[in-house]
Structures are given as C-alpha cells and as structure tokens.
C-alpha cells in the first residue's frame, strides 16, 4: 500500500499530509520526540511520558502538523506507536511501584498495543525509528523492525535519543546501521533539534 502511494505521489506531485510513524523499542523516547514536534508546531502536547515502560499503549496520531524550518514547509500526519517488544511481564511494572491490578492491566494493554503497532506498519509513508543511545542497538527487536521496513521499502530515519546521558553512544548506532542516516538528539533536553529537522525534511522527500 505504502509503495503504491509513493509511486502515485511521484507522478502527481508531493503528498501534502505525509504519514510519519514513530517506531522503536519501549522507553526509547518516541512520545517525547513526538511531543516536542507537536509542541513546537501546534502548541499542543501529544501524549504522556513515563519512566515505566509501555506508557504508550495505543497508536495515537496528530493530523496536519505544519513544520516550517529554514524557509521550507512540510505537513505531516504524526503517528506515535507503542514500543515493540517480544515479551511483556506485569512483574516488571511492579518494580516501578505499580500495584498488581494496575500492572496486569498495563501488561494486557501493552500486548495489544504491540499488535496494533505492527498492524500500522503497512500504512506508513516513512518511519522514524527511535532508539535509546544508552542501550545496545544490536537487539533482535531492532533488527526485526528495521528489516520489516526495508522489506516494505519504507524510508527510514534513525534517531539516537538520550545523547545527554553519559552512557550514550550514538556512534555505536551509526556503525550498526551504516546504510541509514542517524541523528543523535536528546528529546528531554532538546539537543540537536536543528539537525533532526533537517533530517526530517530529507526523510519526507523520500516518502
């Protein structure tokens, strides 16, 4: 579907409302980054963030986000997705002080959120994969997500988030994905956002 839309777009001019998905493992900062973009250009927040994994448990989107950067304009539909994981254990949430009932409810919603994320993959025009730069990028989930985007021919931008933290190593992410553009940012401290917006315009061109 995505390929057909891109082909159609290339023949009949640029699409106006490019669907950009935010994908990645849980707690990488997908919603934090989506929040910054929305706050910067619409004045509204996107979704809640938390240190407890799987805070985003439903696909959420914001239509017609108009970005103006260095004389260029871009209109996006931003789609924030729940983090993809191969396991969800309610006991992991107990460590963050959640009671058993809440933790179990969160786990149930998280599993459904992962299924929802996967189902949305085919609908994206382009994807921003947000990775936590303090974590090892060589995880099977990352490989599976990127591999599926490659197979679907969906343009990808990789964001190495949390570069403000001492353990962050965005070079490791770059060497893991040498064929992709990687931008290191800190969504929390709004570091390197200029470079991010430049890369976002380049990504939108490929969509």
């Amino acid at each position: 579907m995505g390929i057909l839309k891109r082909w159609w777009g290339s023949f009949f001019g640029r699409k106006n409302n490019i669907k950009i998905g935010f994908y990645g493992p849980p707690n990488a900062g997908k919603t934090s980054l989506a929040n910054i973009i929305c706050e910067d250009w619409t004045g509204e927040s996107f979704g809640s963030i938390s240190e407890v994994p799987h805070e985003t448990r439903h696909v959420e989107f914001k239509e017609k986000v108009e970005i103006k950067h260095k004389g260029k304009n871009l209109t996006l539909k931003i789609v924030d997705t729940p983090g993809i994981a191969t396991k969800v254990d309610y006991e992991d949430f107990l460590k963050f002080g959640l009671d058993k009932t809440t933790a179990k409810k969160r786990a149930k919603e998280a599993t459904q959120g992962i299924i929802e994320s996967i189902k949305w993959l085919d609908d994206m025009d382009a994807v921003i994969v947000v990775l936590d730069a303090t974590q090892n990028p060589y995880s099977q989930v990352n490989i599976t997500i990127i591999g599926n985007l490659v197979a679907r021919k969906i343009p990808v931008l990789i964001v190495a988030n949390k570069i403000d933290l001492r353990r962050a190593d965005s070079k490791k992410i770059e060497s893991a994905f040498p064929d992709y553009e990687v931008v290191g940012i800190s969504a929390k401290k709004r570091l390197n956002m200029d470079d991010f917006y430049e890369a976002l315009f380049r990504l939108a061109k490929k969509a």
């Binding site: 993809i84 994981a85 191969t86 396991k87 969800v88 254990d89 786990a107 149930k108 599993t111 459904q112 992962i114 299924i115 996967i118 993959l121 990028p137 060589y138 099977q140 989930v141 990352n142 490989i143 599976t144 997500i145 990127i146 591999g147 599926n148 490659v150 197979a151 060497s175 893991a176 994905f177 040498p178 064929d179 992709y180």
Partner: protein, 139 residues
Amino acid sequence: MRHFSALQKKHNMKKIKGLSLQIIPFSEIRDLSITDRVKKLLNLVLGNKVVILQGRLRVEEEIRLIEDTMALVDHLKSFKGIELAVIEPDSRNQSIFYKMRKGIATTLMGHSNAITIIGPASIVKEIKRDPRKLEVLLG
C-alpha cells in the same frame, strides 16, 4: 565474590537444564506457510522447549512471531513472551544492516549458517549472553 558468581552460574545452568531443547532442521519448516511455521514454533515454546532452528526466519515471519506471541501473552496467564536470538558465526562486529541483508539473502535461498533460538524469554536471554552454555548442553 568468586563463590557467589560460581553459584549464580550454577543456578543459571540449572535453570537452562530444566528445559528441553528441540532442534529443528530448516527442511522441516521449509514447505510450511508463514502461519504454520509460526504456529509450530510457538507450540514448541509453549511446551516449555527452547527451539534451535537451523537457519533463520524471514523478517516478515519474525514480526508475525512477535504479533502471535503478544496475542498469546494476552490470553495465557503464565506466558510472558519469547526471546528471539539469531546467532551467526563470527558476526559479532558486523553491522546490523550487513546481517540483515545476509539474512534476507540466505533465507530466500532457504538456508543459512545462522541458528535461531526461540524460547521462553528468560532462558534464551541467558543463552544469547553466553552461547557456550548451549554448547555445554549439546555436548
């Protein structure tokens, strides 16, 4: 400290020994549809087996495996999910993209030097961290 780490190691090995391994040659799943491949693998994992698949799944099969796993976690009380690891010989320093390309190419050809380990989450994580544990069990 050394004693503690030896005990820890022993405990981890015990945990792995509590399960059984099931080796699946690629030829056993070659002719199955994506649904049947995933179903077969998940049935084995649910039977508390660590599956060692010769070769690797296609990326679309991996994502389907995650999708079906989540549906099962949602429905089965004691099932927390899977750990999925692809181990390729001498690939520690290769980029993910190289592995991915190599993986896609080799699965299209129907064989690969890689082995895929799929099992109950906590156990496979342990094997991935130290593949020698697998050698111990097999040897």
